[in-house]
Subunit: 799 residues, 2 copies
């Protein structure tokens, strides 16, 4: 590629960029060290230094270097770029740059654009009541916390999907590059459509060291790196060195080339002449010293270009005069008087280098997605409602109904909704979405391939990390989505979930961060229906994990049938700033509630199913059978059926819980039921036989403050599983109808000693099950063919 | 490279290999489909077919192909190879091959080497009471479950560390290759020392499809693949096609080349003439059709070479005569009569192709590591004990003491212990281990680098996934290790933890699987001491996650000081078949117990600290202050100190819990305290102010069955965090001494309404804290300088 005129950068321009970079570096060091004397108008004294020195210098000068050059490109080309800061530890750099461009003071007016503002800027950093040390929700322009490494590039891809005008410049540290999620995220290029999506410009920043170790990629030679990233499908461009003047020339030129290539791919594709297959997008490999421009050495030990520069390169500057002098010399090397005027304002010719308004990376609406978010157009739920012919009928695959609903969502929201999953969308029975869209696929497509297209809107990659990271990036830039996943394997993203929940918690306190759409999980192929895949696929613990987070962020729903699933999904898709977990099965299963009943039941969160119990109006039941989850609901109803047969005089109440957060007290969770309402449902002293989808301890944990908790007897997954039949899974964990009926009898006071023959009979049924299933490899016909006896009881007919 | 004589394979030999392969394929199909008529001695009838057809055919013929060729190489070269089956779904293939070589029947004699054994082999697969569908603990020769994808290559590297004579042949499916953990695990080559470690031979098996999608790597062209894996540092060797004869020739030749390269690297290195830097180890890229040799198409739809071959390629063979005929033709295409004799035994000339004895991959002791495990030589704990000068003194970094202990462990166990961590060993204050060893590093080493060496035994990579995967592989092959990690980021491996816990649970029921060393976690840099790194680094939820698993597998320890940490670590390192979690801080902290007291306290799991309370012998206290975790313990003691000052007549008991599993009942956990012992410590009716390291709900969940549970008031992490001071972290979450003292007063009956002035005073202390910390950025001097008043009380002096 030859140099175009736009690729030749005037020396003078780069001299100004260098000054801008120096200003950012100066402000970064100041944040780590100073409480006062921000512009070094007097010699540094101990009391100017913070008592605790916190922060990460090592990565910061590189981040500042990239920021300054991106500013230049934005101005020159009028681009929309967001800066995704993989090395989130370089928080001081992000803060410094957004202050320099003015976006920081607009959001936080107390941090003004003058000496007083700089002093506060310095002081607040990593200071109690101030701001975190990482690029965090508080940091303007950030959509990637960076405290936990590995997700920057996934976020970058998520951000540019359906944002054709956006470039996500994504800085990836060579530490982060060692993580698994990051190593896989390079394949995002195979899912990026140059026509309708924006572009990602990865900048792999090799500064050679982590906390106390060299980096793997930093020690690889250029040829291996070139091969590695060419193999991933990129065009790697190198910028390497430490001498600022040469580095500025290289970086400006390289960035120009990269942006030209991006523009070229997009223009060709959008003109209908796309590159065949996956475009070879550019990436930049920037080698620069760790702690670049910082102290060469301290106490005779190497610092710049070594891991000692990682955090605070020179310590104890309050106590140690020599160290304080090193700090002062270091800060003065940036020539603050050349950068800031008498009042401490950035000099106008430097300020002029920053983009204007929303083009500033700290002010980009793409990095504050709520500003761009359009409400999701909901589908008409009623259209997909299952018509009940009787209680329990028809048998339906709940997620299949949801798939039909989602197809309409795609149609109604053609450019801001996507469905994500690790190659399980069809397996989870959502295939009806393929009536209206396809899977995104940019690699070659064979004639016999199905449902693949460059403009597909279902994102499937066998990496839960990418699904989660893409969806987060997509939501954080103002759009909507759903992640469908096998229940057991959602644990793969436990830690990503944590970070997103923490992000949401913090943003709720930041009025300038506008609400974003909720992150919605559909966990299908769940623990009770992984009988065929076996023990490794059986784990319902994600709910426990989620329940640890702030109550106002998290919701967990266990719809027992298709109509309740539709209500819940419809509801979740229209919420914001939350994380919603929906657990629902994909196998044909009985249907319990009409659409109207489902709406009422789900809105309440839980309720008594009068048609399923035998209690008389106005009296308390002898025993409560409670359930949450589709399989536990079916087993509970079958148990109620058995009890009615065996003990027609027993007064049984059946309670179903959809929203398990409602089990908590109102002080614990905003959905929590009042004590009166809870006692009205669960009584104050009757045995509650609770059949739960997950680990029993979760129900105890949610209900331990309730009056009747001592009478709660919970069955759930007890880590007993293997490859077997569906019903055998429940028997192994004592969640089956026979064990539930036994538990009800054992714990009901008036039956003590009076129903031993029934207990024996139930025990014999369990034994018969074991014999049959081992002989024939399938469940007892009486179990497989069980139906709710719709003729019984007057309240049995659905509305 | 020219062909040596060993690289030329006789045609006849490959014809036999092909027959062996056909036998494995035949037995694989049979497992998925047949209940009877195993050798097709009569036409297939409906009753011969299983009622539920389960299993994954797609990957299986490729796995069988590789297995057969590895057998050839083992025999020819007398190698020790283990087979790591990344596509664990290909369980039928692993079972078939271990049956063919005889190792299966040795372990499971009821599955004999004849027609009757074959019939049972078929029937048991994915059948209730039988075996799982994946390569599982039950599968001979397996150390990688494969139900959850992503970890095969990490396991392979872990297996060969310190096993110089072993080759781990690791088959990686192109689905698994998309996952993050797998994408990063290719960098394992940078940690493999050709002198003292064995070799990994990755076989990337591209069959092109996942469940319902093409694979990313399968669609990449050869040149991109060559670049990608060359970039990772490998020598990629291609085998590609579908015509068996040609494929056998290619594979045999390529495997010979790969093994020659491995031998060459090892010989050179072991002769003192190593390749500079990282040896370019071979890897094989095998392209073969999904469902190779299976039905081309069914009902007019493409099956072989397409995703429809993923699981059961032809369904409903009981009901559908045409389908059953397809199945019969398919199975007969392998010519069973050519493979098995009249009795159903594998013909002798084929059986002769398998290796003998422990060389068989299904019988390799390396894949049943307990057979090779030597007990760890423990270090002398007393040598590292902290000598208490008074209660609380000296201030010590607990993990630093552990580092000294671990240095001795390295010295005493020079070839079968390793320490793993994501670049946090020094940060976690374990640096004393570097007195006796280094970090493993095979890439270039600069003159100014420190503590790096090719023979280092500390494994650091910024990937928790690799740390965990390597350690699992290392343990599963019979060695010992410890994984040290920041507490918050251990959630990254939640799902890997799950799978390992499940693995251990199953192996406990398999007498032929000998016990392996426990997987030990040291979680330092914990939630209460991440004040500097901020909210993203603050998460104690891994304990909740762990507590969900089977009680006989998991242990969680919260040692409050250095001597207790030493006892716990020493204990954990000598256990087997468990997962031990140790949470301990790295900051200077007061020391409470002498070595002798620590031993007694830890062995009991919890206990009253009489020197810390004010209760009189023989009477019950007014209030119990309980604590678990080092920071909560310090705050609890400081609260006890405050209460003694304010309310000298109040009878306070201080209880410390090290082993939180002991809080459960004995029915729930083997460590659970008896009801009497529990009540003796916590009383039956006195308020218990419990300061806990983690989320409060975990304590409620562990104690809800206890008599006095209704009086438990637990403080812990409530998701309130940011970058602040250490003490402010506790105040934000009401875990600090002031809030604890308030809680004790509020909940003590005899103080009701009588101590309002004290409550006000404590409230003022909290306010003073807030003012001070925001003004000066550090904690109140009275907090920073607080010391346990050692002069008080007669029982104050440590033993």
């Amino acid at each position: 590629m030859t140099l175009s005129s736009s690729q030749r950068c005037a020396e003078e321009e780069l001299r100004q960029v260098d000054r801008y970079w120096r200003a950012a570096n100066y402000l970064s060091v100041g944040q780590i060290y100073l409480m006062d004397n921000p512009l070094l108008r007097e010699p540094l004294k101990p009391e100017h230094i913070k008592p605790r020195l916190l922060g990460h210098w090592g990565t910061t000068p590189g981040l500042n270097f990239i920021y300054a050059h991106l500013n230049r490109a934005i101005c020159q080309r009028d681009l929309d770029i967001i800066y995704i800061c993989g090395p989130g530890h370089g928080g001081p750099g992000m803060v410094a740059n957004t202050w320099l461009e003015g976006s920081y003071s607009e959001i936080y007016p107390q941090i003004s654009e003058d000496a007083s503002g700089i002093q506060k800027l310095f002081r607040q950093f990593s200071f109690p009541g101030g701001i975190p040390s990482h690029a965090a929700p508080e940091t303007p322009g950030s959509i990637n916390e960076g405290g936990e490494l590995g997700y920057s590039l996934s976020h970058a891809f998520g951000a540019v999907f359906d944002n054709p005008g956006l470039i996500a410049a994504c800085v990836i540290g060579d530490g982060e590059a060692e993580t698994g999620p990051l190593a896989s995220s390079w394949h995002g290029n195979k899912f990026l459509n140059p026509v309708r999506d924006g572009a990602v410009l990865p900048v792999l920043h090799l500064n050679g060291y982590k906390i106390a170790n060299p980096t793997i990629l930093g020690r690889m030679n250029d040829e291996d790196l070139r091969q590695l990233f060419s193999g991933y499908g990129y065009e790697p461009l190198f910028v390497s060195g430490h001498e600022p003047e040469q580095m500025h020339i290289q970086m400006a030129r390289t960035l120009n080339i990269a942006l030209d290539i991006i523009k070229d791919h997009q223009l060709r594709a959008r003109a209908g002449r796309p590159t065949k297959g996956v475009p070879r997008w550019p990436m930049i490999i920037l080698r620069s010293p760790k702690g670049w421009t910082g102290p060469q050495s301290v106490d005779g030990k190497k610092v710049e270009g070594f891991w000692r520069a990682h955090q605070v390169p020179v310590s104890s500057c309050r106590e140690n005069d020599e160290h304080r002098q090193i700090l002062e010399n270091w800060m003065r090397s940036y020539q603050p008087d050349d950068l800031f005027d008498e009042q401490g304002r950035l000099k106008p010719e430097l300020r002029a280098l920053a983009p204007q308004g929303d083009k500033r990376m700290g002010a980009s609406p793409f990095a504050n997605g709520g500003r761009l978010r359009r409400e999701l157009v909901p589908a008409e739920r009623a259209k997909f409602a299952v018509e009940l012919t009787s209680r329990g009928e028809p048998q339906v695959q709940s997620t299949e109904m949801l798939g039909r609903y989602l197809a309409d969502i795609f149609t109604l929201n053609p450019d801001n909704f996507r469905l994500f999953g690790p190659d399980e969308t069809a397996s989870n029975r959502l295939s009806d979405v393929f009536d209206v869209t396809n899977r995104t696929w940019l690699e070659d497509i064979e004639p016999y391939d199905e449902q693949l297209a460059a403009d597909g809107r279902v994102m499937e990659i066998l990496s839960e990390h990418q699904c989660q990271g893409w969806l987060e990036g997509y939501l954080l830039t103002g759009r909507h989505g759903l992640f469908n996943c096998y229940e057991a394997f959602i644990h793969i993203v436990d830690s990503m979930f944590n970070q997103h929940a923490k992000w949401l918690k913090v943003t709720r306190k930041l009025p300038w961060r506008k609400p974003i759409s909720s992150l919605n999980y559909l966990l299908s192929s769940h623990v009770w229906r992984q009988d065929h895949n076996g023990y490794s696929h059986q784990d319902p613990g994600f709910m426990d994990h989620v329940a640890n987070k702030k109550a106002d962020i998290v919701r967990i729903y266990l719809p027992p049938d298709a109509n309740t699933l539709l209500w819940v999904a419809d509801h979740c898709l229209q919420t914001w700033d939350r994380i919603n977990v929906i657990v629902a099965g994909k196998q044909p299963a009985p249907q319990w509630l009409s659409a109207e009943e489902a709406a009422e039941h789900c809105a309440a969160g839980m309720g008594i199913w009068p048609w399923a119990g035998t209690e008389q109006d106005g009296t308390e039941p002898d025993v409560v059978l409670a359930c949450a989850g589709d399989v536990p609901t079916m087993e509970t109803l079958a148990a109620a059926d058995l009890l009615r047969e065996y003990l027609p005089d027993l007064s049984v109440r059946v309670v179903n819980v959809v929203d398990i957060m409602a089990l908590q007290t109102r002080e614990q969770h905003p959905h929590g039921l009042s004590a009166e309402a809870f006692d009205g449902i669960f009584t104050q002293n009757k045995p509650v036989i609770f059949a739960f989808h997950g680990y029993p301890s979760l129900i105890h944990r949610l209900t331990y403050q309730r009056n009747n908790h001592r009478n709660f007897h919970v069955s759930g997954f007890m880590e007993e599983g293997t490859t077997t039949t569906p019903f055998d899974m429940t028997v192994l964990n004592k969640l089956d109808r026979f064990h539930l009926a036994q538990a009800a009898i054992v714990h009901t006071e008036k039956l003590q000693g009076k129903a031993d023959d029934i207990l024996d009979d139930l025990q014999e049924k369990i034994a018969a099950h074991h014999r049959y299933v081992r002989e024939y490899g399938e469940d007892l016909p009486e179990v497989r063919n069980w139906k709710w006896p719709s003729q019984q009881g007057s309240g049995g007919a659905p509305e």
